[in-house]
Amino acid sequence: MTDIKKISTERIRCLIADTESTLRELEAELQRRETEAQDVEIDHLEEHMRGAELSLNSIKEFLTFLLGEYRSKH
């Protein structure tokens, strides 16, 4: 950006207004994308329910991973 001290006051006001408007648009777009991503996850609720069921596999996988990490470090 050019030296802002050389920019006129009116121009600065316009730039601020544009920036604030752009920021609002970006925030709205970000919010929209986040909400859409959340909607997608909720649409897959059945899968998440299956994945969230407690099973010995979770513990087994975790312990296997721990052992693997330990062996790779030593």
Partner: protein, 502 residues
């Protein structure tokens, strides 16, 4: 494996199918084949094609199929494209990306629609949200009603058994648990082992009806809240392979732990000093149980369960009060365990569509909406472990932040109280006390949410603690293991040992 829309009209839940392009040959390297293979292997990644996809996979028994003779290598040898099973991929809204992929299939790879029947499906067809109640749904609802009836009977059995076995000596038998920390530990460890706070609180309601002092039961109920959070913590271990995902998932699980621990830190001293929860529970119970009134005419639930409970009592107590009472308690506990397990399974299947609607409606609407949604979903599926465990993969995916799933977790704490209230409706024995402990459970959880979430400087304390723990455990996975063993078993065990010596 590609089908035409009209051939699948027997399945009312199909909105659109995918029409195969018959002109192009199938090759083993085409993405369509690898898509189907990965679907068969249960790869979750294969199910995420684009935002508008709602994918349903029906696997059915079939024979291994080789590629059509038209697909030949230049050398003249045929290249087999073995398929472990046929797969029908059905969409609610066809994904653009997958349509392009599937269009490479050849017509001869299409499934004969006559092969796909309801009996041949390996997995049940998913529920269509606006479909009329099917015969299978009606059967499942009847099963839920029967199981709930048996749950109430089971609580009655425990109450009767406990009363018979202990006579008037319940206070002396549970003298060890008059130390509130011992009661807290008993509730925590029992729930961590049984993996269900609903089961433990239902048992506690039965025991209170049979003579267990309410003051002894209160810390047990608090402990049950802590113990139940082990389930979602273990579920989060399944995300261990990806560091950032594990950090998010572990945080989402442990935020529940930290909330419940903070709740105990606040309310247990208040309960010991002032009997706050006991007094509130007593007041609430008094609105529903009238002293000196005839229960038989007013309590139709008790009247309905009387035949089962009465018959079991009659035969068991022929063996003597001690043995008979013990058998009733064991029978009641086993029955509670079975009924809650199967009610949870059935309601998960029946209510998943409703749960989706509620969660969709709650997105972006603020924390109160999140708490209410968490409560309703938990009441629908009858399990706080299900709701809180569901938050783990949602947070793990990165789509939901910890501050967003936190209110759902709090709602789950409140929603689970319905089971104890249900259990208290038809106990034999001290109905007033049973209802009191059920209301204490509800009050404790509601006040916990109001106080901790309501006070600004306390509100995100569990979130900050969980975030720190998640990041730390992601760096060193041993910390996650140490946390689980320490919080749910080692520390309670030490406390129990110390309190028994004192």
């Amino acid at each position: 494996m590609w089908f035409r829309r009209n051939e699948m009209c027997g399945f009312s839940w199909l909105h659109e199918g995918l029409i195969a392009d018959a002109d192009r040959p199938l090759t083993p390297n085409v993405s369509g084949y690898s898509v189907v293979r990965s679907l068969q292997c249960g790869s979750k990644n294969a199910l995420r094609f684009d935002e508008s996809t709602c994918l349903s996979l029906a696997m059915f028994r079939g024979v291994a199929q080789t590629a059509p003779p038209s697909h030949q290598q230049p050398s003249g040898e045929s290249e087999d494209v073995p398929l472990p099973a046929k797969a029908v991929v059905l969409f609610r809204s066809p994904p653009t990306a997958l349509r392009q992929v599937m269009s490479d299939a050849t017509a001869s790879a299409q499934i004969d629609a006559n092969e796909v029947t309801a009996d041949s499906l390996l997995e049940p067809a998913p529920q269509m949200l606006d479909a009329p109640l099917s015969k299978s749904d009606a059967t499942q609802w009847i099963a839920v009603a029967v199981l709930v009836y048996l749950l109430i009977c089971a609580v009655g059995l425990i109450g009767s058994g406990f009363k018979a076995a202990t006579g008037d000596e319940a206070k002396e038998m549970f003298a060890f648990a008059t130390n509130p920390f011992a009661g807290l530990v008993v509730g925590t460890v029992a729930t961590a082992l049984i993996q269900s706070s609903s089961t433990v609180t239902s048992i506690i309601v039965g025991l209170v009806a049979g003579g267990l002092p309410v003051s002894v039961a209160v810390p047990m109920v608090m402990g049950a809240n802590i113990g139940t959070s082990i389930t979602n913590t273990i579920v989060s271990l399944g995300h261990v392979r990806e560091k950032k995902e594990f950090a998010r998932a572990f945080s989402a699980a442990t935020v529940h732990d930290f909330f419940n621990l903070l709740s105990v830190v606040i309310f247990l001293p208040l309960e010991i000093a002032f009997g706050l929860l006991e007094k509130i529970g007593k007041t609430l119970a008094s609105f529903f149980v009238v002293e000196d009134a005839s229960m038989g005419g007013l309590n139709f639930v008790k009247a309905m369960t009387a035949p089962v409970v009465g018959t079991a009592k009659h035969y068991a107590l022929e063996l003597g009060d001690g043995l008979g009472g013990g058998l009733l308690i064991i029978g009641g506990v086993v029955l509670i365990f079975i009924t809650i397990h199967y009610v949870g399974k059935l309601l998960k299947k029946l209510m998943v569509g409703k749960a989706k609607e509620i969660m969709h409606a709650a997105i972006g609407k603020g924390p109160v909406s999140g708490i209410v949604s968490g409560t309703i979903v938990t009441v629908l599926v009858q399990s706080s472990s299900t709701t809180t465990s569901l938050m783990v993969p949602l947070a793990g995916s990165g789509a939901f932040g910890l501050k967003q799933i936190y209110p759902f977790t709090l709602g789950a704490n409140i929603g689970t109280c319905i089971t104890a209230l249900l259990a208290a409706t038809a106990v034999d024995g001290n109905a007033n006390a049973a209802l009191q402990i059920a209301f204490i459970h509800l009050t404790y959880n509601v006040l916990g949410v109001i106080v901790i979430y309501g006070i600004p400087f306390l509100r995100f304390t569990p979130v900050r603690a969980a975030e720190w723990l998640g990041v730390t455990a992601a760096e060193n996975k041993l910390i996650a293991l140490a946390y689980i063993l320490g919080v749910f078993f080692v520390i309670p065990g030490i406390c129990l040992g110390v309190s028994s010596i004192i």
